[in-house]
């Protein structure tokens, strides 16, 4: 029983990371209908930036996190302008091809600059080791992840529900044209939302180096997971993404622990089943996918 709690907790931390990285994709997809398979690239950037800054600039782990956020946000603005925007009205096939192309370029660059191996981050001493609570060994770092995930979720929900900007985002997701007709600069809203989402992905990638691993193929390896979280949770829905991410994290970890021979098989099966059962996603808004 206790080991189950430990596993659940691990799954929670894993889910928190998936949420951080995928929430940006969810909003992007819900807002613009743009299939961005290269979302993982922003997470990669955050991760590699963290590793590089810590190694060469000697910055502390905590100091690098906001930098990861900012860098990914800036990169996303540049990419959006140059590459994504021309294809908003295009076929999904083209969007898929473009973003797959971006992934390939990212893999090649990452291999060139950092080599093909896994990156490692030296955690600050405060976050190392484990704490024993109620008989279960919980790692400090995963506690930190869960806490960070919770705080950011609250911030996002607050931002969406209580601020003017949030209201604009919600309006744009639900009724694109009407929102435009009402004078909301949907394009501007989208750019800012995209930047925030990508920044969060960068943050998630930086936080996830020690849990998810970081190598040049990161964006490709986890692509299915990110898409799964977004699609199952329902594009455009933050709570849906959170729910889906936590479920996926827990399911994956539990399956690997109790039935390691089967492992990721369970996840992919779950994906197909859930997609068929919930064509709108678990909490999705809008039309069927």
């Amino acid at each position: 029983m206790l080991s189950l709690l430990g596993v659940l907790f691990d799954g929670l931390a894993y889910g928190a990371l998936l949420f951080l990285i995928s929430v940006g994709l969810s909003v992007t997809l819900g807002l613009m209908g743009f299939i961005n398979l290269s979302h993982g690239v922003f997470a990669m950037l955050g991760g590699y930036l963290l590793v590089t800054l810590m190694q060469y600039a000697g910055l502390s782990f905590v100091a690098c996190l906001p930098l990861a956020f900012v860098a990914s946000a800036l990169l996303s603005l540049a990419l959006e302008r140059a590459l994504y925007r021309p294809l908003y009205r295009s076929s999904h096939l083209k969007q898929v091809l473009l973003t797959v192309g971006i992934i390939f370029v990212a893999i090649a660059c990452a291999t060139y600059f950092w080599g093909p191996g896994q990156q490692r981050v030296a955690l600050p001493d405060a976050l190392r080791g484990q704490i024993s609570a109620a008989g279960v060994d919980l790692s400090w770092y995963r506690l930190f992840l869960v806490a960070a995930g919770a705080i950011i979720t609250l911030a996002l929900v607050f931002g969406l529900e209580r601020t003017r900007f949030g209201a604009r985002v919600r309006a744009s997701v639900d009724a694109h044209r009407t929102a435009e007709a009402m004078g909301i600069h949907v394009d501007r809203v989208f750019q800012i939302t995209f930047a925030i989402g990508s920044g969060l992905a960068g943050l998630g990638g930086a936080l996830g180096v020690n849990v998810l691993g970081l190598d040049p193929y990161f964006a490709l390896k986890y692509l299915a997971y990110f898409l799964l979280v977004v699609v199952v949770g329902g594009p455009g829905s933050i709570m849906g993404t959170l729910l889906a991410a936590l479920l996926l994290g827990i399911a994956d970890t539990t399956a690997k622990y109790y039935v390691p021979e089967v492992g990721p098989f369970v996840i992919y099966l779950a994906m197909v089943v859930l997609l068929l059962a919930f064509p709108h996603g678990l909490l999705g808004r809008g039309k069927a996918l």
Partner: protein, 391 residues
Amino acid sequence: MNAIARCAAAIVAVALGIACNLASAAGDTIKVGVLAEMSGTFASFGQQITTGAKAFMKRNGDTVAGKKVELIIRDTTGPAPDVAKRLAQELIVQDDVDFIVGFGLTPNALAVAPIVTEAKKPTIIMNAATSIITTKSPYIARVSFTLAQVTEPMAHWAYKDGLRKVYTAVADYGPGNDAELTFKNAFTKLGGEIVGSVRIPLKNPEFGPFVQRIKDAKPQALFVFVPAGELAIGFMKAYTERGLASAGIKLITTGDVVDDGVIEALGDDVLGVISTHHYSVAHDSPENAAFLASYAQINSTQRPNFMAVGGYDGMAAIYEVARKLNGNIDGDKAMQVLRGMKWTSPRGPIQIDADTRDIVQNVYVREAKKVGAKVYNVEFETFPAVKDPGK
């Protein structure tokens, strides 16, 4: 479809094809085709093997029996048997190589076996470590090691050390399965107990849940085999992170997990880990010193590991064959020369068994210790002239 478009396309295709049709000259060179993993997760395998081979050529010159020795290196990109098979075919048919060598990973070696049998090309395994490889073709000889060979001594040592309850964790492919089976058989025959075993997938390894499971089973020790390099690092990370050492679970492994190439990256967490293997950089012998010096001339920042020694010794075997055959490499004659060949390698005395064409060598028990400021696997016990069990 339109006429001109078609013709243009056909011309383009043919032109590209011609551009690729490079003719190769024969005659005064002994061509050695090297199939190794030069990119991807297992890139370090190929790097070590090829650098080791080059180190030998640096030390002994690149001419033997009046002919120049040329290495033709091809990248298998990882565990990709179909790529390896095609590359082997191309090396034989297009480049007309005299030897096929390399093989960081078992699946690639297995795929190539039927090709070298049909083409009668002497093939030298420089790293791959599953026992059955040498049985797949009469033209295959091995200079590396087998997992069974280095695992059996570990079972003996573990029992002697007082361990009775051991959990095994191996990577799920040829060598891993060999290691698991060998350890289980040897250890239980002595009277020990395997309290649990798990096989970890090779391609997408996530060690966290596996290691947690092991911790909860509370064995006295954990016997591990994962391929050297990235996976070993990942495993050690999970091991320390979950606090298995402080939970009293001793770590016993084969040398792959603590191989010289990555041992420094493991930090202080690796100190005290006991492993069995056929080569350590800290091995005290003149041959080893010469090897290390040559290697450093080619790559001074990377520490060589057992794969580099495999490359080094593989070339030694090739040179000897070339000398004995006066540069005229015939498949059957080459195999005759290779059978029973013995010499002193940087690792210690080695021999290629006359019947099985597999390697016979010393296996050392080592402990990861600090020597000066750096960590090394220091040998403290030797099992001499170990053959591959079960052959």
